[in-house]
C-alpha cells in the first residue's frame, strides 16, 4: 500500500491568471528553480474567470487536485477580480465538502509576478499533500 502511494504521481490542473500567477510561474523557470511537474498550467485572464463548474469538471475528468492561483488581494489587474474568486472559492469548498472531496485537493493561492520561488513552493507542497491523500478517482467514488 505504502509503495503504491509513493509511485502515485498526482495530476493537478492549475488555473493561473495571466498577470500574476502565470508570470510568477514563468519567473520560476527563468530563475531555473526546480519543482515537480505535476501541476499542468492553464492560462486564464483572471482568477475570477475560474467557474466552480470548471473545477468540478476537472476533478470529474480525472484530476487529483486543482490549483487556482491569482494576484494577491488588492493587487488584481482587474481591480477586484480576485475578491470575487475568494467569495466563490468559499462556496466551492462547501460544495466539495458535500461531495466528500478533501479540502487539500483544491487550493486557492496568491502568487505575484515576482514570486517565482513562492510558486515553486506552492506546487511542491500541494503535490506532496495530494500524494499523501492518494488518487481521487472521483468517478469511481461517485459510483460507490
Amino acid at each position: 500500500m505504502a509503495e503504491l502511494k509513493s509511485n502515485f504521481e498526482p495530476k493537478i490542473v492549475g488555473f493561473l491568471c495571466k498577470w500574476c500567477a502565470y508570470t510568477g510561474a514563468d519567473l520560476a523557470g527563468t530563475s531555473r528553480i526546480k519543482y515537480p511537474p505535476n501541476v499542468n498550467p492553464i492560462r486564464v485572464m483572471c482568477s475570477g474567470r475560474v467557474d466552480p463548474v470548471l473545477v468540478l469538471k476537472a476533478l470529474a475528468a480525472g484530476a487529483d487536485g486543482v490549483l487556482i492561483a491569482g494576484c494577491h488581494p488588492g493587487d488584481c489587474h482587474y481591480t477586484s477580480g480576485n475578491v470575487k474568486t475568494i467569495r466563490r472559492f468559499k462556496l466551492l469548498q462547501k460544495m466539495l465538502d458535500q461531495f466528500r472531496i478533501e479540502k487539500g485537493r483544491v487550493r486557492l493561492e496568491w502568487v505575484s509576478a515576482s514570486e517565482g520561488e513562492r510558486y515553486a513552493r506552492v506546487v511542491e507542497t500541494m503535490t506532496e499533500d495530494i500524494r499523501t491523500l492518494g488518487p481521487l478517482n472521483w468517478n469511481l467514488r461517485k459510483e460507490a
Partner: protein, 652 residues
C-alpha cells in the same frame, strides 16, 4: 470539417532540447487527431522558423497552428503575426509553453519530456475550439501624463513636449527638481547639479506644451491603452497661482520658522515658503500645520504684505479629470532611514550624518553655505564614509543601491577639496561600472583617500585609548589585513541606499502595474522592454523601477518618452478581442453580472430584458462569465469549450 493542425516544437538552442526530447514530442504530436504536420526546429522564432509555419499554411493548407516553445509572454505576438501573414486568422494559433514552465524547471529528461507532451497535447485539443476573431482598433489620445517631476520626469516631459505633444506633469511637492535639486556636485564629472538641472526646470515651467500640476497627486486612473482618464487632486497652496508673481515678500515677512524638509532639517524655512529659491513653479505654499492663521487664527502678515492679494486661506483642494493616451511613471525613490540601524549612532551621535545631509552642507546655497562643519562649528580633520547603509543587507534591503559607491567617492573628493581632512571609505565591494567611473576611483585614490575593505560594524563614542577620546570610532575589520581596526574620526557620513517610495503599493494599485520582489515597479522585460510594463500604454522610468544614477535615469526618461511617442504616432492601437459576449437567447435577465463588472461595462437593456456588454469598456477579465447562472456569457478566446478541452487533455 476536419481541421488540419500544424505543430512546431522549438529546441530554443539547448534551452529546451537539453531537457526535453523534442523528437519524441514531435512523434507524439504526429499521432494526435487532426494533426497534419509536426516538426521540430532549432529556433522557431527565427525567420526560417517562421517560414516553416507560413509555408505549411500555404502548402499543406493548415487551419490551426500550435507552436511549442517559450512563454506566450515572450513570442506570442511574433507567431500570431507570422500566422496572419500567411493568411490565417491569428487567433487560430495557440502557444505551448515548454520552456519557462517545462524544460527550465526540471533536470529529469524523461519527466520533462512527458510534461512537454501533456502541454502540447492540451494546446492541440484547445486550438480546435478556437475561432477567428477580429482585433479592435481604437484611436490613441496624443496627450501624455508624466507622474513625478524629478530629473527623470523632467527629461521625459521635455522630450515629448518638444515633439509637439501635450504633457501633463504631476508633481507632489511644491516644486519640481526632485533629489537632484538637493545635490551639490554630480559624479564623475563634478558638474554642479543646479547648473545642469535649473535650465531644464525653467524649460518645463515655460514650455507651452507642458501643463505643470505641482503640489498635486494622481488619485485615480482608469481606461485602456490610448484612452485613459487620470484623476488629479490639486492640494491647496492657499496662494492663487494666477495672481502670485513670486516676489517672495510673504516669505520674508512670515514670522514662523520651522526646520526645512528640503534642507534635511539642517536649515529653516517659513510657514509660507518655496523649498528653494529656484523653485518651479515660483509660487509659495502655506504649510497649514505651522501657519499661525491656521493654528491660532491670528497673524495674516502675508495677506497684509502681498502686493497682489494672492493669499487665499479659503482655497479648497480641487479634483480634475485628464484624458490621456499614455502615462509615464517617474515617481522616484525614498532614502533608507538611517535611524533603523542603531549601531551607527545616527540620531544619537551628533556628527553622524547621512549622505543627503552632507550634500546640503556642501551645497553653496545650503545651510552652511557650502562649508563642511561639525556640530560645534569646526571643520573636521578626519571623516569616515560608510558604504552600504541599508543596502546589500538581509536585515534591511537585499539589493545593491548601485549609486552609493560612486557618490561616496564624490563625497570623499569634496571633503578632501573643502577641508583637507583625512578621508576613510569603508566598503564591501567597489562598484565603479559606468563611463568615467573607474577613472574617478583612481582620482580619489590619488587624493589619498584611505579605502578599508570591510563593512563598518558600528560607530561608538566609548573610547578605548586616549587617542579615541572625544572622537567617533568606526569599528570594522580590514579584511585585506585580517585585523579589526578602530578608526577615530570627527565625522561619519552614512551612505544610505534607495528604497521604493512609502506609498509605492498604492501607486501600483492605482495604475494596475506590478512590483518586483524588492518593491520597485516591475518592467515588462528586464533587458528588452525596460521601461514598459505589463499594462500597455503605461511606462516606468528612473529610480521607481530600481536604484539608478542620474545618467541612467535621464536615459530612461528619454526612453519612456520615445516609447510613448511611438505609440502616439501609430495613431491607433489594437485591443485584444478577449471580451465577454452575451447570448441574448440564454440570458435570463437576472442582472448578477451587472454588479460584478469592475468597469461598469455591462448594462441592462430594459426593452429586451437582457444584459449587454459594452466592448469598448470590457477589459476581458471573465469574472461575469464565471458567475452567469444560465451560462449565457462567453469570453472570447477563453471559452468554456476551449478551457475544458485543455482540462480534459491534461487529465486524460
Amino acid at each position: 470539417m476536419a481541421e488540419k493542425i500544424g505543430v512546431y516544437v522549438c529546441h530554443c538552442g539547448t534551452n529546451i532540447a537539453q531537457t526535453v526530447d523534442c523528437k519524441s514530442v514531435v512523434d507524439y504530436a504526429s499521432g494526435l487527431p487532426n494533426v497534419a504536420v509536426a516538426r521540430e526546429y532549432q529556433y522557431m522564432c527565427s525567420d526560417p522558423g517562421q517560414e516553416l509555419i507560413k509555408n505549411d499554411i500555404r502548402e499543406v493548407g493548415l487551419t490551426r497552428v500550435v507552436v511549442a516553445s517559450c512563454s506566450p509572454l515572450m513570442h506570442e505576438p511574433t507567431f500570431r503575426r507570422a500566422v496572419e501573414e500567411a493568411g490565417l486568422n491569428q487567433f487560430l494559433f495557440q502557444m505551448a509553453n515548454i520552456r519557462e514552465q517545462c524544460s527550465w524547471i526540471s533536470e529529469n529528461r524523461e519527466m520533462a519530456t512527458e510534461r512537454a507532451k501533456a502541454i502540447v497535447g492540451a494546446a492541440v485539443k484547445r486550438v480546435i475550439f478556437q475561432e477567428p476573431l477580429e482585433v479592435k482598433k481604437v484611436p490613441v489620445n496624443p496627450d501624455v501624463l508624466v507622474v513625478g517631476g524629478g530629473i527623470t520626469g523632467i527629461e521625459a516631459a521635455l522630450q515629448i513636449a518638444d515633439s509637439g505633444k501635450k504633457v501633463y506633469l504631476v508633481e507632489r511637492e511644491p516644486t519640481i527638481g526632485g533629489y537632484m535639486a538637493r545635490f551639490d556636485k554630480t559624479f564623475p564629472t563634478l558638474d554642479c547639479a543646479a547648473c545642469i538641472l535649473t535650465p531644464k526646470m525653467v524649460s518645463v515651467g515655460q514650455h507651452p506644451n507642458i501643463e505643470l500640476l505641482s503640489y498635486s497627486d494622481v488619485t485615480g486612473f482608469s481606461g485602456y491603452v490610448g484612452n485613459f482618464t487620470a484623476q488629479i487632486r490639486k492640494r491647496s497652496k492657499y496662494v492663487e497661482e494666477e495672481k502670485c508673481n513670486g516676489c517672495g515678500l510673504c516669505t520674508e515677512k512670515c514670522p514662523v520658522s520651522v526646520p526645512s524638509e528640503f534642507e534635511c532639517g539642517l536649515g529653516k524655512r517659513k510657514a509660507i515658503y518655496r523649498p528653494f529659491p529656484q523653485a518651479v513653479p515660483n509660487i509659495p505654499v502655506i504649510d497649514r500645520d505651522h501657519c499661525l492663521y491656521f493654528t491660532k487664527g491670528v497673524c495674516k502678515v502675508c495677506v497684509k504684505f502681498c502686493p497682489r492679494g494672492a493669499i487665499d486661506f479659503d482655497q479648497k483642494e480641487t479634483y480634475l479629470d485628464l484624458q490621456v493616451g499614455t502615462a509615464i511613471l517617474a515617481t522616484g525613490f525614498d532614502l533608507f532611514d538611517a535611524s533603523k540601524v542603531k549601531q551607527y549612532g545616527y540620531g544619537r551621535l551628533p556628527n553622524v550624518i547621512t549622505s543627503l545631509e552632507f550634500e546640503r552642507m556642501s551645497h553653496a546655497s545650503g545651510p552652511t553655505a557650502g562649508k563642511i562643519l561639525l556640530k560645534n562649528g569646526q571643520m573636521p580633520t578626519s571623516v569616515a564614509i560608510l558604504h552600504c547603509i541599508g543596502s546589500r543587507d538581509q536585515n534591511n534591503n537585499e539589493y545593491c543601491s548601485r549609486v552609493c559607491c560612486m557618490y561616496s567617492m564624490k563625497i570623499a573628493h569634496l571633503v578632501h577639496e573643502k577641508t583637507g581632512a583625512r578621508v576613510y571609505e569603508f566598503y564591501i565591494d567597489l562598484r565603479a561600472f559606468g563611463k568615467g567611473y573607474e577613472e574617478f576611483y583612481k582620482r580619489v585614490l590619488q587624493e589619498e583617500t584611505i579605502f578599508i575593505r570591510g563593512k563598518a560594524a558600528e560607530v561608538t563614542d566609548v573610547p578605548q585609548t586616549p587617542a579615541e577620546k572625544g572622537k567617533l570610532v568606526v569599528v570594522a575589520e580590514d579584511t585585506l589585513l585580517g585585523i579589526v581596526r578602530r578608526i577615530p574620526v570627527d565625522m561619519v557620513v552614512l551612505s544610505v541606499g534607495f528604497e521604493p517610495r512609502k506609498d509605492v503599493a498604492d501607486v501600483a494599485r492605482i495604475f494596475s502595474i506590478t512590483r518586483s520582489q524588492d518593491g520597485f515597479f516591475l518592467e515588462k522585460h528586464p533587458k528588452l522592454a525596460p521601461v514598459s510594463t505589463a499594462s500597455d500604454g503605461i511606462f516606468v522610468a528612473g529610480a521607481c523601477q530600481g536604484p539608478k544614477d542620474i545618467p541612467d535615469s535621464v536615459a530612461q526618461g528619454a526612453a519612456a518618452a520615445a516609447n510613448a511617442l511611438s505609440l502616439i504616432d501609430r495613431k491607433e492601437v489594437t485591443l485584444e478581442p478577449t471580451v465577454a459576449v452575451i447570448d441574448e437567447e440564454s440570458c435570463s435577465g437576472c442582472k448578477i453580472c451587472l454588479g460584478l463588472c469592475p468597469y461598469n461595462a455591462i448594462t441592462f437593456d430594459e426593452t429586451k430584458k437582457v444584459s449587454v456588454v459594452n466592448d469598448a469598456l470590457c477589459k476581458g477579465c471573465g469574472v461575469c462569465v464565471a458567475a452567469c447562472p444560465s451560462g449565457a456569457i462567453e469570453q472570447r478566446n477563453f471559452t468554456d469549450d476551449q478551457l475544458l478541452a485543455e482540462v480534459e487533455a491534461v487529465c486524460a
